[in-house]
Amino acid sequence: MAAVETRNRLMGPRLSTGLIAIYGALILVAIATTMPFLWMVATSVKYDPDIFSYPPRWLPTQGFDFGNYVDAYRAIDMGRLFRNTAIVTVADVLAQILLGAMAGYVFARLNFPGKKVIFFSLLATMMVPFEVLVLPIFLLVRAFPLAGGNDLLGQGGTGLLNTYSGVIFPNLVSVFGIFLFRQFFVAFPREVEEAAIIDGCSLSRVFWTILLPNAKPVMGTMALFAFLWTWNDFLWPLLVIKVDSLNTLQLGLSSFNQETGTRWAELMAGSVMVTIPVILLYLFLQRFLNQGIATTGLKG
């Protein structure tokens, strides 16, 4: 990449017909991917007559209605939803990174009986879609021992239902994350560690002091992925959360879709607000994203 860029800089952008075609194609794709998004933003500041005008207009004729944002925020109490979603997301992101790094390290570096079997069974579980097994997982979360009034055998209470922990639990570990970290550590040079081990450093110390601090690109990548999965999750919170006070943003948004009709302006304003944190996080972590994926085995 660097070589190409240097050459490019030295020679200046050669605007040959080929390059123009490339830019043209890229811009076309960019329009396709961003258009729905821009349409959402445009709709979020319109009054109803503009929303239901045909032909559709990008710019409102009735003036901008920024009040949609205030209405949306109030209608579903977004402050609370943001807090709920943030709690759940932060917990899962941290857990996925730490547990993923630990397991990734083990599979990349350590030898122990059963390693192959365990690793391949883990990979095989990636084929099992969460959506298909929601019922058993649901029953398990309900029968979580010693939680929500349950006894040791998971009877008598409601387990983790209607708690943050219940939402958090199934997303604590990601097999994909383990895989990502493993690939990263496999590619990581062994010399430093070996020197440390000869110096009498324990394996876990090696992990905490040498490998983990160097795994920032994968951590950044995983942080983004884990954030996306939990922040945007819909099905699981729908099943576990039965009280409004614990609702997440995605659940709140779907309630703009009422029997009597859809309140488009508020729905779109709410959607913009829900998406902004993810965009910010992407912009903050995007430099890791490429690096994180590149340094793992996904390159083949």
Partner: protein, 439 residues
């Protein structure tokens, strides 16, 4: 817990779950959240809490509940959960599967048999017998009482009924030179054809708005009204067989088929709502079947259209009839405070509070004494009188599942791919198959 979702306690517990995984403290995450209650049971000594699920609400309703009805119930603090119909069935199912049901919850027209069969709703007869005269169960329409009674037991208390009748736009009636709104099927068909406006092949105004896009209910519901007017029945009286292949039911299907497939008085599926604006309020349809929604919506969002809306009693065909959905309060059989929940139920449905609730969304009140309440407009009174002609759903506990094959065949018929006769025969075959499983 519910008042402050982010109490320090719950935050600690949550960190503990994470920490268990992270620091390997306790061998298993299972051990981490120990010693904590699930947050549902109120600590002793504090004010009791009752949870309630609300699905029939608009913004105003929420205001009335939060500012008035909930605070004025002094015996307990109310923890509400507002939800939406399109996911409500699943939501309650999982709530029961998990044992985290609200104490009191709203339910739809076909819920009572299913709740009773599963043992999820509390039988209310003893409570009703002991209830004060002031609450007065006799004030409920007998038909609604009957709809909430399964195998001789009252399992719910109706709070709203959704009766629909025929709505017309006065400007469209004038435009086509009609002397008055149609009174029977023939006149409706004539009006619908005259009122349909086309631009080439494209329909720009529906003469009669039969269905909206999305969801099986949108075709199936309006069919039921025509079926009632033809004096047809969904299931046999003993609920053992499907009777949709009987002549009256086929006749109703033929009529709807004629309107939509032959006459094309609306595209199929029909126009969508403009946000809250129904096609008839938006001037995109000349007539439709609806509850009091058009009035509420016009009042709120399109006051200019308000005067154009007109509602009549059901049409006369074989009989004069219409269909009614009865929405009800259920007390969960898992409630730890059944008596207190009953108190809340009577609080919510007492004459005064019922009136406030009904007024907030212009819902038809189930109490006969509310016919002349202040919020009852002339149009609502017409609907109210339609109740005389109302027929509810058969009380089969698997009705939701029975609807599915019917909705599928109906779609085929109304999109012109299948004759009304075949539709009804195939529907009945499929429904009888499900019914046979139970026998």
């Amino acid at each position: 817990m519910n008042k402050q979702p982010l109490s320090r306690r719950s935050f600690l517990r949550l960190s503990a779950v994470t920490a268990a995984g992270v620091a390997l403290v306790a061998c298993a995450p299972a051990a981490a959240p120990s010693g904590e209650s699930g947050g549902e049971a109120a600590p002793s000594g504090e004010r009791k809490e009752l949870s309630i699920s609300i699905v029939d609400y608009v913004e105003e309703t929420q205001k009335v509940l939060e500012d008035d009805l909930f605070p004025s119930f002094e015996a307990a603090a109310i923890v509400p959960n507002y939800t939406a119909w399109d996911r409500y069935n699943e939501e309650m199912t999982t709530a029961f599967a998990g044992g985290v049901t609200p104490d009191l919850f709203q339910g739809g027209a076909v819920w009572a048999p299913q709740m009773a069969k599963r043992g999820w709703s509390l039988a209310l007869d003893d409570f009703i017998a002991a209830a004060s005269d002031e609450w007065n169960w006799a004030d409920w329409f007998p038909a609604l009482q009957d709809d909430a009674t399964i195998d001789g037991k009252v399992v719910a208390v109706p709070y709203r009924f959704d009766i629909r009748s025929f709505w017309y736009r006065q400007d469209v009636l004038d435009e086509v030179g009609a002397a008055g709104p149609p009174t029977n099927w023939e006149e409706l068909r004539e009006f619908a054809n005259a009122a349909t406006v086309r631009d080439g092949d494209t329909i720009t105004r529906e003469g009669f708005h039969y269905s909206s896009p999305g969801g099986w209910q949108n075709d199936l519901q309006p069919y039921m009204y025509f079926m009632e007017m033809a004096d047809g029945q969904f299931l046999s009286d003993d609920l053992s067989t499907c009777t949709l292949d009987s002549d009256p039911c086929i006749e109703a299907m033929q009529y709807v088929h004629a309107l939509i497939v032959e006459d094309k008085v609306q595209p199929y599926p029909g126009f969508e709502n403009q946000g809250d604006l129904l096609p008839i309020v938006a001037g995109m349809a000349g007539s439709t079947m609806s509850s009091s929604d058009p009035e509420r919506v016009a009042q709120q969002y399109a006051p200019d259209e308000f005067e154009q809306l007109q509602v009549t009693l059901p049409l006369q065909h074989t009989v004069q009839a219409t269909h009614v959905w009865v929405n009800k309060w259920f007390i969960s059989s898992l409630s730890k405070e059944p008596e207190l929940t009953w108190d809340l139920l009577t609080h919510m449905t007492g004459v005064e509070n019922q009136e406030k609730y009904s007024a907030s969304g212009l819902y038809q009140p189930p109490r006969q004494s509310l016919e002349n309440a202040a919020f009852m407009t002339d149009r609502m009174k017409v609907l109210f009188q339609s109740t005389t002609y109302a027929r509810p759903y058969p009380k089969h506990w698997r009705l939701i599942e029975l609807f599915r094959p019917f909705a599928q065949e109906l779609e085929l018929c109304l999109s012109g791919q299948q004759s009304p006769e075949d539709t009804m025969t195939k529907t009945c075959a499929a429904i009888n198959e499900i019914l046979a499983e139970d026998a």
